[in-house]
Symmetry: C2
DNA sequence: GATCACATAATATGATCACACTCACCGGCG
DNA sequence: CGCCGGTGAGTGTGATCATATTATGTGATC
């Protein structure tokens, strides 16, 4: 699927501009690059500490350097990517201390979002969440790592979107992206005791319209997985062996080298 | 080293590049533009709802459109500026509901930062905070609006920086920038009952090494000013009359038109 | 054989250009 | 008089070019 457009860009004159694939909508490329980067971070295509080159990435993505620049700028401003003093960007290394802070902030923010969502909760929302949670449990039983990640994310964010807050959601999303790579690498460990019981508590709180309980359940969910990750070996080993475990072929993200 | 100086000037009009003001450090212009925009937002040079044009701003700032683009992109990614569906950016309008959410989030995050800072607090920190607070009180007595804003910001951020968190600070800063314009316009009201008593409680908690009390004090400080602002007339009137009250000449920010 | 200087390659940054789209103003037609 | 279509300026986006800076590799020197 990765279109190899290197041939076409050779001598496309300078008058062309961007008519390569027909007319574009405004900001399409930039948003597409951001989406690909986000997905790549969530899915473990990037290794913590890895530096990201503008031109190389642009070449892999088949675009000019311009959209990549703006996408990387956005992610850097959101603290998803880090800018070294050399002005080169890299995906941040996660230390235990930082991860613990991240979890505490997530508990506060996502707990607040859960509380607000519970107040606005509709039966349809509960039904959707039950469906997603069932899929999550199925993915856990099937040992489907990516399915777990995707369903878990879907569960949390459909809940948070129900809070309908223009302040909270934009704050929560980057936090997930910061934790994304670590989450992926952690799930590789064969004895991942994913604990989805907190999700059940969330659903119960929503049905009872008990906002405080919803907050506590979300906080417990975050705290559980965080404490497991801190006890696991994710932070002990260097990122070396983890690289080998990437399954690039599953997603068209071999490009991020 | 002196390789191809033979074809130095291709066409006199595009060879200039950026040598206008002599050599620059890397990323200097971009950071400078970001700093100017931040300061402008804090200081009331922008009116909520005002749209921002890339080329105009670049022209006023004396630079190319490039650094302005990246600066605006950063601020947009941090939710400090808003991007309309037309892909034009504007400084967000603040509604009471949004401001209330903002204050609740600020209470949670800044309370957490105060708690962490209290645990790491040193006598030097307390001393510096006392000095800043004294200056703040002086500015209040002198009815120095900008002095109040600057000192208050300095008080809070020297405290939060003491928390030494790479997670919290980047989250807190944009929240202040979001509230920045409203804060400025609110202080214009002649009967601003600025309540710095919470700052005293913060200092006392720091001296007592009582982290929980520090958190409560900061939360109270935010809650107080928020409830006052919500009761004031800032949100009632349209932004029309507020524009006239800008004192552009005080800062070299008449450029932001 | 190790270290340092220098040349080469690669990088991010800034400037400029070309294009598609948006919006406001205006003249015509209903 | 009111709606409608054109037309122009203005906008953000993407591509390309130029430049300074940084990283890297290779050579000579000690």
């Amino acid at each position: 699927m990765a279109a190899n457009t290197t041939e076409m860009t050779r001598k496309a004159k300078k008058t062309n501009g961007g008519a390569r694939g027909g007319p574009r909508r405004r900001g399409e490329l930039q948003d597409r690059v951001v989406a690909q980067l986000r997905r790549g971070l969530m899915v473990g295509a990037f290794v913590p500490g890895q530096t990201i080159s503008l031109r190389k990435l642009a070449g892999h993505l088949g675009t000019s350097a311009m959209p990549v620049r703006e996408a990387i700028n956005q992610l850097t401003a959101a603290n998803v990517l880090e800018m070294l003093p050399n002005r080169t960007v890299c995906v941040p290394r996660m230390t235990p201390a930082r991860f613990e802070e991240l979890s505490k902030v997530r508990q506060a923010l996502e707990g607040m979002a859960a509380e607000m969502a519970c107040r606005r909760a509709s039966p349809q929302l509960v039904k959707r969440l039950e469906k997603v949670n069932a899929e999550l449990l199925h993915a856990i039983r099937a040992r489907d790592i990516l399915g777990c990640l995707a369903r878990n994310q879907e569960f949390h964010f459909t809940l948070y979107e129900a809070a309908d807050s223009e302040v909270l959601l934009p704050l929560i999303e980057p936090l997930w992206l910061q934790a994304g790579p670590i989450m992926y690498f952690s799930l590789i460990s064969p004895d991942m005791p994913w604990d989805a019981s907190a999700h059940g508590d969330v659903l119960k709180a929503l049905r009872d319209h008990d906002a405080a309980a919803a907050r506590r359940a979300i906080e417990r969910d975050i705290r559980n997985t965080a404490s497991y990750l801190l006890k696991s070996s994710v932070f002990r080993g260097a990122s070396g062996p983890l690289v080998a475990l990437r399954r690039e072929s599953d997603f068209d993200f071999g490009m991020f080298g």
